[in-house]
């Protein structure tokens, strides 16, 4: 038994924001309320001055297992996720081999059960090998445990295929997550096309590469009635399509990464820790995304945690793979850029990490008796410095190394047990 | 670097008389001025060479060609300094081959400047003869180099500096002996 005492429970799903104790037994929450009596033998966690939220869910990450263990494994990735306050992560299928079959899915699920620090919910490929030709064995993968379908790393290749994927997934009750990009338009590009890419002499990707594909997907979502989720949205125009879709009753959702609401293309110099896909966008895009995060048009914050082992990133900008780390800085950036700058409320921020992603997956995330014992405890006042070299991740590709934050994760509880606890001298 | 003036070695008038004497010596001891040319070593060798040329032209009517030589690229101490000294131009508008050259500088000290100057000259061609004319010889040679025409010989110590100040560059005219003060 674990009693979390004296904390401020912020639970958007049950519209709670008040001091409350939470009692966990076994893997579940069994009781909530003010001033709960302490059961005999229960472990006590004093959450005085801290926020107690439902366990965070990350809709988008890369754990690199199977096949790319040099950069990350399920074990190291989930330990990093736990440090970031995440209790469940959805890992994308672009592994080696691609997760396009029940056997690969089962492999991931089993590996996570044995060595994962948090829950791992795999996302299966939409097409075989994510090659964009034949439909993958989605139903078999669903039985094996996938929670969504995507060809992430790439868009679902053709409108024809996307339609089929949507119709099929809809019948199986799975959302389709698309990495929106127009490959011919984007080809060879390494950062957002604009005055900065011109100055740096780097080939640019216009924002229309993303929005053209987002538009396509929204049209098809309306045609099929399926659940569409737009991954790592970076352009204001894409958000306009999502708003349009929502206004017209389509089941479209979207996510934004912390780096897209924090940085912009002007921050790119030649440091490969600023290289990812979709690339850092313009200031105007960033402003529009933040407005969407605040007004509900954006449903979730997702990290797109994309580890690449250091040697692979220590190359010329053109040659570096796309992607940066994200688990351990997500909450801190959300607090700094969104809450502390008064762009949205703390409750809304928690929603973006909890009930927002849960809704996309069609599940619930709540602090209430009977629900899974997944809790994220964090501070809004703790002063700390992010040092990437202290991360359990095998990779080091973060642009935020050395950044000073006010507020961050303090303890992460998964299934009633601590997956992470910040050492005392820091809390 | 702080310096304190010790004494004057040459007044403006004395500089003038010395240059007159040197100009006459150069012409007398050259056995004819046919191939004669003067090369002023930057920086202060330049105005001295120009004045000598004027003096020679005044008393003899003969025009001797004058060139300027920058020795920066030929110095032997470049790899020891943090910031490379600024390079000036060398302007020698006549052929060096077969010439009877007189190198002109303000002070002869260790001899390294003259060595560098000769390296520079020989990159331009093959002179018939090279002699050295200096306003002040202060001793302390570190190389086997001597001047054929000397304005004045002065005994100095290692901490002392001979400062030649010329109107064209320093806006005043005299030669001072100054001491380095730590």
């Amino acid at each position: 038994m674990l009693l979390i005492q004296n904390g401020r429970v912020v639970d958007p799903a049950s519209r709670t924001d008040e001091p409350m104790d939470v009692l966990l037994s076994g893997e579940r929450i069994v009781q909530t309320g003010a001033g709960l009596p302490v059961p005999g033998g229960a472990e006590i966690f004093d959450a005085k001055g801290l926020i107690v939220a439902p366990g965070f869910i990350d809709l988008h990450c890369h754990l690199r297992e199977p096949g790319q263990e040099l950069s990350e494994t399920i074990e190291t990735g989930t330990r990093s996720a736990a440090r970031g306050g995440f209790t469940a992560v959805c890992c994308m299928p672009n592994t080696q081999p691609v997760n396009d079959s029940a056997s690969v899915t089962r492999g991931i699920v089993e590996r996570a059960a044995r060595g994962g620090a948090v829950r791992v919910w795999p996302i299966g490929a939409a097409s075989v090998g994510s090659k964009g030709e034949a439909l993958a064995e989605i139903a078999a993968m669903k039985d094996a445990g996938i929670v969504a379908v995507s060809d992430d790393g790439k868009p679902v290749a053709t409108s024809r295929l996307m339609r089929q994927v949507m119709e099929y997934c809809d019948s199986l009750g799975l959302p389709v997550i698309d990495h929106c990009e127009d490959p011919p338009l984007a080809a060879g590009g390494v950062m957002r096309e604009g005055p900065h890419s011109l100055r740096l002499g780097l080939k640019g990707i216009p924002s229309q590469s993303e929005s053209i594909c987002a538009g396509r997907d929204v049209e098809l979502a309306q045609l099929t009635g399926a659940r569409l989720h737009i991954a790592h949205m970076s352009a204001a125009r894409s958000l306009e399509y999502v708003r349009y879709a929502k206004e017209h009753g389509a089941r479209v959702t979207c996510e934004v990464t912390p780096h897209h609401f924090t940085l912009a293309d002007e921050d790119v110099r030649y440091d490969t820790s600023y290289k990812m896909n979709p690339p850092l966008a313009s200031r105007e895009d960033r402003e529009a995304l933040i407005a969407g995060l605040a007004d509900g048009s954006v449903d979730a914050i997702a990290t797109d945690h994309a580890p690449h082992h250091p040697a692979s990133k220590e190359v010329e900008f053109d040659r570096a793979p796309f992607g940066i780390l994200g688990f351990e800085t997500a909450l801190a950036l959300g607090l700094r850029e969104l809450v502390q700058k008064n762009r949205l409320s703390l409750v809304r921020l928690v929603e973006l990490f909890t009930s927002g992603p849960a809704r996309v997956l069609g599940i619930e995330r709540k602090i209430a008796a009977g629900h899974p014992g997944d809790i994220t405890i964090f501070s809004t006042g703790l002063k700390w410095t992010y040092r990437v070299n202290d991360s359990p991740s095998k990779s080091r590709n973060s642009p935020f190394d050395g950044a000073e934050f006010t507020g961050g994760p303090v303890a992460t509880i998964v299934g009633g047990r601590f997956a992470y606890r910040r050492p005392q001298e820091q809390a | 670097m702080k310096v304190v003036e010790k004494r004057q070695l040459l007044s403006a008038e004395e500089i003038g008389r010395t240059l007159q004497r040197l100009a006459h010596e150069i012409v007398e001891k050259s056995g004819g001025t046919k191939d004669l040319a003067l090369i002023g070593v930057r920086r202060r060798g330049v105005p001295i060479s120009q004045r000598l040329e004027r003096i020679i032209r005044t008393f003899s009517g003969i025009e001797i060609p004058v060139g300027t030589l920058d020795i920066t690229l030929y110095r032997d101490d470049l790899s020891t300094v943090a910031q490379q000294p600024v390079v000036q131009s060398t302007e020698i508008p006549f052929g060096v081959d077969g010439r009877d050259l007189v190198l002109i500088d303000d002070v002869l000290y260790t001899g390294r400047t003259v060595r560098a100057a000769m390296n520079g000259l020989f990159d331009l061609g093959r002179p018939r003869r090279v002699r050295l004319c200096v306003l002040i010889d202060r001793g302390h040679r570190e190389l086997p180099i001597e001047a054929s025409f000397i304005g004045r010989t002065v005994e100095t110590s290692d901490t002392e500096i001979v400062e030649v100040r010329l109107q064209e560059i320093d806006k005043e005219e005299r030669v001072m002996l100054v001491d380095r003060v730590s």
């Binding site: 005055p195 011109l198 053109d318 | 943090a82 490379q84 990159d123």
Partner: protein, 317 residues
């Protein structure tokens, strides 16, 4: 060190003072090219690594000659012949070179930002001989020297840059440099190679898609070479380019009568430039080559010469 500069990575970050100093210091080296004996001992004992990860003959030879005339030795790396093809990373290649202790490295690379990458990881001065489509600072400097010599000053000229601006590092370096001296730059070429956003690179940059409009009143015309094959992009037929953008004698007459014609080379006579213009009195292409040598000698002298930054100044003359 050169007025506080340890590396030469681009012209965007150079000050007017630094640029003027480099041009002034190139003068003695211009003269030097006329000496019968073109060999100094100034950088004797120094080694300059010439690491070209992208094909080039002219610039490579120019740098190698500059180093050699200063008395330095060179280490020559050419991409095709190197282990880069075997998959060795830039970092490893450069570290291998560094282990042989050169005193400076001149680098040309097809990736924008590569010289900066190298400068952040090595202790020695790095000179950018062209990186991707980013900068080619020595080209802009020798162009500036040519302009200053021919026209008497570098201030306030109307400069027209003609060609594929989007992919040109020469254009960018020139834009940054000339606008620092009050230059008014007009960019002209096929629309997909002259995006309007290029006018935001520096003040006083405008775009003109018609060559007639671009050349009117020009004091300097910088003709870029045309790369007809492009990766990831459809190319433009040469005939199309010639029709609308070749610098012909008739078109050149629209510029000022004493307008200077520059070209970074190699030229394709009959494509971007009419042979008569290329070899005509307004063309300064050969001077550009000589000036390139002088600029590079001045840069190597100041950046590679000398001791470690904390060495003392010489006491005696």
């Amino acid at each position: 060190m050169l007025l506080g500069l340890q590396h030469l990575l681009g012209t965007e970050t150079l000050t007017r003072e630094q640029i003027t100093f480099i041009l002034d210091q190139a003068k003695p080296f211009q003269e030097f090219q006329r000496h019968p004996l073109k060999k100094l001992a100034t950088l004797r004992g120094k080694t300059v690594a010439i690491a070209f990860f992208e094909a080039s003959t002219r610039t490579r030879i120019s740098f190698a000659t500059a180093a050699s005339r200063l008395g330095a030795d060179t280490m020559n790396l050419q991409a095709e012949a190197s282990s880069l093809k075997k998959g060795e990373s830039l970092l490893d290649t450069v570290r291998t070179l560094e282990a042989m202790r050169p005193d400076g490295i001149v680098i040309r690379h097809s990736s924008s930002g590569a010289p900066e990458f190298v400068s952040q990881r090595l202790e020695i001065p790095v000179l950018n001989a062209g990186d991707g489509t980013h900068e080619h600072p020595t080209q802009a400097l020798l162009d500036a020297l040519t302009i200053r010599d021919r026209k008497g000053s570098l201030e306030g000229w109307n400069v027209t840059v003609l060609g594929d601006i989007l992919h040109s590092r020469v254009a960018r370096s020139n834009i940054h440099l000339l606008t620092k001296f009050g230059g008014r730059v007009t960019l002209c070429g096929p629309a997909m190679w002259v995006p309007n956003e290029m006018t935001t690179l520096a003040p006083n940059v405008r775009r003109a898609l018609r060559i007639e409009e671009a050349l009117e009143g020009a004091d300097v015309v910088l003709v870029l070479r045309v790369q007809t094959e492009r990766i990831h992009e459809p190319s433009l037929a040469p005939e199309e380019y010639i029709l609308r953008y070749q610098l012909t004698p008739e078109r050149l007459r629209l510029a000022k009568p004493d307008a200077l014609v520059l070209h970074p080379g190699p030229m394709i006579r009959g494509l971007e430039i009419d042979p008569g213009v290329a070899d005509g009195p307004q063309s300064a292409v050969l001077e550009q080559v000589t000036n390139g040598l002088a600029i590079r000698m001045a840069l190597l002298y100041h950046l590679v010469g000398g001791a470690a930054p904390d060495a003392p100044h010489p006491a005696k003359e």
